[in-house]
């Protein structure tokens, strides 16, 4: 991240220049957060662990969206549908092909990536909100297909099948405390990969497509292949997230929430976290999940106060809180929480001179 550094602070070797962790406190922070994450099932209660699990796989999906929307600037309203593809692919591979979960997981990601490529083809002809329409169509067509075709395999009109639990050797991942480690490890892998995507040729090409596609093409960036790569990576990460979600919820289908609202939710998480930053998905997802808990709390209190209206009060505050948060962020901090974090760090480094 090229931010201003104080005078006299410079790198002495290429290795130093390339390093992701460049200061002692980077190592400390990473070590402590990894320790906290990996020991979470030991000291956290079941609710905390399952929330952390949900946050982990949602971050993977939002990271994919970040590549497509944040870095490449292609608007996508179909991330949840690609998750559905990944969930079904993994579940069917385990159920009918008898593959172990850890083989099915990458295959599911590839399957979702392939579907993503198909809808990404529309991005060659159109851009801007025309592309949003193409992905909107995907968001309606894919769940419909899962409800109305291949009923024996996909679960038919109710749109749900049961998903078996993953097993590795003698370790059973049925407990959420065990399953959490799967999400965590996959999240770690994707995070390391994406940190490197964003600062190598691929990521720079994505950014150039976003900032000015004409100039990018003049510089030798093939728009055709790079847009498709962005779609492929986004859908692949959605597929990974979907497969993990399907196995941790032990079921997959349109009943489990893979609709347009979820896709919008992921976009909102990305914007609130910070478009086109590696930190953004983490901050945005954590923020929204906490906000949802808060809104459920308010809904619960109000439902207790007005029992005759409980049905409409319990869950309805989530979209209100989310919508208002999204609108406020767009007006007051369109660069998201990641930008706030940058400002905070810069302020700390420059103290006592700048605020």
């Amino acid at each position: 991240m090229a931010i201003l550094r104080p005078a006299g602070d410079f790198d002495r070797s290429y290795e130093q220049d390339m390093a992701l962790l460049r200061r002692p406190w980077h190592y400390w922070l990473l070590g402590v957060s990894l320790l906290a994450a990996f020991t979470l099932p030991l000291w956290g209660d079941a609710y905390l662990v399952s929330t952390a699990n949900q946050i982990a796989y949602t971050i993977i999906a939002v990271q994919g969206l970040n590549i497509l929307t944040g870095y490449t600037g292609q608007i996508s309203l179909s991330q949840a549908a690609f998750m559905l593809v990944g969930g079904y692919a993994s579940a069917l591979l385990v159920l009918h092909a008898g593959l172990p979960f850890f083989v099915a997981l990458p295959l599911a990601a590839l399957a979702a990536g392939a579907i993503g490529l198909f809808f990404g083809l529309a991005s060659l002809r159109v851009k801007g909100f025309y592309l949003a329409f193409a992905t909107l169509a995907a968001q309606f067509i894919i769940p419909w297909l899962s409800r109305h075709t291949f009923k024996d395999y996909l679960g038919g009109a109710n749109g749900a099948i049961e998903v078996p639990l993953p097993q590795l050797g003698t370790v059973n991942f049925g407990e959420v405390s065990n399953f959490f480690y799967i999400s965590l490890v996959v999240l770690l892998i994707t995070t390391v990969l994406l940190f490197n995507v964003s600062r190598t040729r691929l990521g720079r090409a994505f950014v150039s497509v976003r900032d000015n596609d004409l100039a990018a093409e003049l510089l030798g960036v093939n728009l055709f292949t790079y847009k498709l790569r962005a779609f492929f990576i986004a859908a692949m990460l959605a597929g990974l997230a979907g497969a993990i979600k399907a196995h941790s919820q032990r079921g997959v289908g349109t009943e489990f929430g893979y609709g347009l609202n979820e896709s919008i939710l992921y976009l909102g998480m990305l914007v609130i976290g910070g478009l086109g930053t590696n930190l953004g998905p983490f901050l945005g997802v954590a923020f929204i999940v906490l906000l949802e808990d808060l809104s459920d709390l308010l809904g619960g209190v109000l439902a207790a106060a007005f029992p005759e209206l409980a049905g409409q009060l319990l869950t309805s505050f989530r979209p209100i809180f989310f919508g208002v948060a999204l609108m406020l962020f767009l007006i007051y901090e369109p660069r998201g929480l990641a930008h706030r974090w940058q400002l905070l760090r810069a302020g700390w480094r420059l103290r006592p001179f700048a605020r």
């Binding site: 159109v126 979209p319 989310f322 999204l326």
Partner: protein, 312 residues
């Protein structure tokens, strides 16, 4: 294809298309005047339907309702309220976003959509409201003899005919308004070029406000029409989303195109239901989106739109 069903479905689809066209008109209107693509329009449609239902005293015990208006008065009250809502949206959500990139403005309308979804649920409840006052009973059917059709006649529900008439008349009125009145022309001028419009004395911010107000009115009218056919529920926002394929088919800049696109989408939805295959019949909810993909690939500017899409 079950050919004996085709004449019936053709007419039904055309009649349904009127409402879709009217809803599409509201989106095109906002796009034309301020280049904002309003993804919250479907939720405005739903909110308008709920408002009307509430003004008729829906949901309350008979006699105990806070407000208990006849249908026509409830519709007028809802139209006025939604005009106010449109003005508020423009002032507090869209005006701060002036000059922001496309993605940000689109997300703003998506945020609005979520807000309306939640507000509707909190204010009116999430379950289907079946007590929306219908001007005609479902058994009022107009029978037109038509040899070759199923039962040698085309049956038209009065409700459907009425919604078609209202939608088409309203849409024609709005199109006349944009093409012939001074205010309408000012709005079109603003759509062409903000600076030029300002230089001839048009107040651009007022035009934006006005177009959102009118869009609110159109949305509520569309919501009332949808509600008379299918009842009031949170699903109405999804139903209203099929206005998007209609707009794209008609061309983003064309008001008349939006209306024609609505007819086309209504036709497509109804005609697939004349099929003998259950899979094809079931596809009536996604057929508009398949059509949308085809339009995007073959003719992205739509039938009557301007060729302004950049392809790099």
């Amino acid at each position: 294809m079950n050919w004996s069903l085709v004449p019936q479905q053709f007419v039904t689809g055309l009649l349904n298309g009127g409402t879709i066209g009217l809803i599409a008109l509201g989106i095109v209107l906002i796009y034309k005047s301020s280049e904002v693509f309003n993804f919250a329009h479907g939720h405005l449609v739903m909110f308008g339907a709920f408002l009307t239902w509430w003004f008729t005293g829906g949901g309350a015990e008979p006699g105990a309702a806070l407000i208990d208006l006849p249908l026509w008065a409830a519709v007028i009250a809802a139209l006025i309220t939604s005009m106010g809502i449109g003005l508020l949206i423009e002032r507090f959500a869209l005006r701060p976003m002036t000059g922001q990139p496309l993605l940000a403005i689109m997300l703003m309308t998506l945020g609005l959509a979520q807000l309306f979804e939640g507000m509707t649920a909190v204010l009116f409840g999430v379950e289907l409201k079946s007590d929306f006052p219908a001007p005609f009973s479902p058994s009022d059917v107009l029978i037109i003899p038509f040899p070759g059709a199923f039962g040698d006649a085309i049956r038209l529900k009065y409700t459907l005919v009425a919604t078609f008439v209202v939608a088409t008349v309203a849409a024609s009125l709005f199109i006349w308004f944009f093409n012939s009145t001074k205010t309408g022309l000012a709005m079109r001028a603003t759509a062409e070029d903000h600076e030029v419009a300002r230089s001839v004395g048009i107040k651009v911010s007022r035009v934006f406000g006005l177009s959102w107000g009118i869009a609110g009115v159109i949305a509520t009218l569309g919501g009332v029409l949808l509600a008379t056919v299918s009842g009031v529920s949170l699903n109405l926002s999804t139903v209203a989303l099929i206005a998007f394929p209609a707009i794209l088919l008609g061309g983003l800049e064309s008001l008349g195109g939006a209306l024609l696109g609505g007819f086309a989408i209504g036709l497509v939805q109804a005609l697939v239901q004349a099929s003998r295959l259950i899979e094809v019949r079931n596809s009536s909810e996604i057929a508009p989106y398949l059509l949308l993909l085809v339009v995007l690939l073959i003719r992205p500017e739509g039938l009557f739109g301007q060729k302004r899409i950049e392809r790099v």
